[in-house]
């Protein structure tokens, strides 16, 4: 148990941008929302998962819809109170703590705001260890968890709570309401007991995010390593490629951002060529026709000077980036995990081979 205030939020947001693996929405607006709540109500208690009783009601908090709409429409002060009341009433017992469902991107920040406003603790755990584009893509699905009862509130005070027969119906109905409410709403989903959270969740991911953020912030402080060495070491990242963006293709289909960024090698990679394909998040990194990494391992592009993560919507011609790979949460590497988020699910015709094996010969 420890407190997270403004400085911690800064680092968590920076780390969450890396864990977004190119997607998840820019944490910036979320950071402002979290900081606003903490300034008003004081720091949030972050619980170690092992501190949570087995029968405690734990509720992940997120936003649903387009992060760009969130920038315009914002989140008022009352949404999380309505979510709290709706879900507590539904279960007939109070929520013990909130948690993030997604540690990457903007959804890393909103549970902090919710916890601050309700005076509840937040658990140091999520259901992805990164960001993913679809509702069922959480470790809790592997454990047989259901997204519903899922509660949804908008900034005007409208709310509803769903129970559905499949997570696909949850997606369908919640998406319809989200659109009617203007394209961005606050939700709670995958409500669960402490025991289940401890068994299937990605534990201590908020702390990991904070450490990643701190290491990016302090990357130039090292005296015995280059900033790049310091970054790779502290992030436990595999260097995949260093290049200059020569082309970006984008295609918005079915509510997803599909695309491909092409890179010309610089530095050690001069003369080589690489590309990264994405569907919201980065899916594959290919260098001179060799696949070096695929989902569910994290493929992240960072600025070559500042090491600040570059999300897919900020990819620009001429920008110099370092492409790195981070190992995903072990549960994603199981048969069940790969069925949910492996390369073939995303239409990439290759078997999943762990990042560290693909890079064995040196990336």
């Amino acid at each position: 148990m420890r407190k997270i205030g403004i400085p911690e939020i800064e680092d968590i947001a920076l780390g969450a941008a890396l864990l977004g693996a190119g997607g998840g929405g820019d944490p910036y607006v979320g950071k402002l929302i979290a900081m606003g709540a903490v300034q008003e109500h004081g720091p949030v208690t972050l619980l170690d998962p092992e501190e949570v009783p087995d029968d405690a009601l734990i509720v992940p908090i997120a936003m649903m819809g387009a992060p760009t709409v969130l920038c315009e429409k914002g989140i008022g002060g009352e949404e999380y109170k309505v979510l709290y009341e709706t879900v507590s009433a539904f279960f007939g017992k109070p929520i013990y703590a909130f948690m993030p469902i997604e540690a990457g991107g903007v959804n890393s920040m909103l549970p902090i705001a919710a916890a601050a406003r309700l005076g509840l603790p937040m658990v140091d755990c999520d259901g992805m260890g990164r960001a993913f584009p679809e509702l069922q893509m959480v470790t809790f699905t592997i454990g047989g968890g259901s997204a519903t009862p899922m509660a949804l509130v908008d900034e005007k005070g409208n709310s509803c709570i769903f129970r559905t027969v499949t997570n696909q119906w949850t997606e369908e109905l919640a998406r319809a309401v989200t659109m009617s409410c203007g394209g961005s709403v606050s939700v709670s989903l995958y409500p669960m007991e402490g025991k289940f959270m401890k068994e299937y969740g990605v534990k201590n991911i908020v702390t990991r995010s904070e450490m990643l953020g701190a290491s990016i912030r302090k990357v130039k402080e090292s005296t015995d390593k280059t900033p790049e060495e310091a970054f790779l070491e502290s992030a436990e990242a595999f260097k995949l490629f260093k290049g200059k963006i020569s082309d970006v293709e984008r295609d918005v289909r079915n509510g997803f951002n599909f695309g491909k960024v092409v890179l010309d090698g610089i530095g050690d990679d001069k003369g080589k060529s690489a590309y990264v394909e994405f569907q919201n998040e980065n899916l594959t990194a290919v260098v001179d026709d060799d696949i070096l990494a695929t989902t569910p391992d994290l493929i992240c592009l960072v600025d070559t000077e500042t090491f600040i993560p570059v999300p897919t919507d900020a990819l620009k011609y001429g920008k110099r980036v370092l492409v790195v790979g981070l190992k995903c949460f072990p549960l994603w590497r199981t048969k069940e995990g790969l069925e949910l988020v492996g390369p073939r699910y995303f239409g990439v015709d290759t078997d999943y081979i762990p990042l560290e094996e693909r890079c064995k010969g040196g990336c």
Copy 2:
């Protein structure tokens, strides 16, 4: 308190077709659903409103969406159980009885099915005394009642419960979910306490509907009156016009059926001309440029021989119909009532004058 079984359902359905005032959806499918439930679970107890305790939780049941979709998709057996559980859990107390929200059209039948399946009584009361096209058009709105918490379930088992800031938002969100669920769902709305129901509801409307149905069924049994006289007397109806349909205009806009039926006079009305305009339900009856009736009074077209009501979707060239007016529930004639359902709300540029005054000189 009395029981309603198959024969009562037959008559209520026939009366509900008349109270539909041209709209409300054909009660036929609803009748089959209600009869199926009663055959399986036995007759339903119909409570007089005065038998309901002040603090009892009373929940109106209806279908939302297109009645034509209901014909294809039907209603399974489980929807009302899910509605019951969802609403009882929300309020933390069991539902005491169901009731219709709308006595006209298909929604007259579904609360009977719900009551039979759950073994609950149904209250002899509704919120319109007829059919109306929009969610807020209930007497309970005049009393300050809210449509929410509104629960919604589909035949697959998906469910949700809404709370909204205005009834307009209820319409918006519930409509979005209804469409995603395939265009027809079962709902409960305007949940209320017994006291409020007794104060603002249209009491004994189910019994009235049954009597109307019975009188249409027995219209030819009278020995001292013509069938038409018998029908007009038992229905307390004002004869407005008798004619042959010479034209029907229809226009589907924003989910409503707009239109106009033009009639050439027959019998006593030979040489005259009339038209009836509708938005789902009939709005105005005009004979030789004189307005003889407007909403919220009920304007009903019935077959000249059988006196079976003719809904707007069954209007056909050459059909002979009797146009009659029925007085609406007194609360609709107040200032608040006319704001909700008066002619000007529907874009008809005339003041409301009660049917019996317009017909004083003889219709």
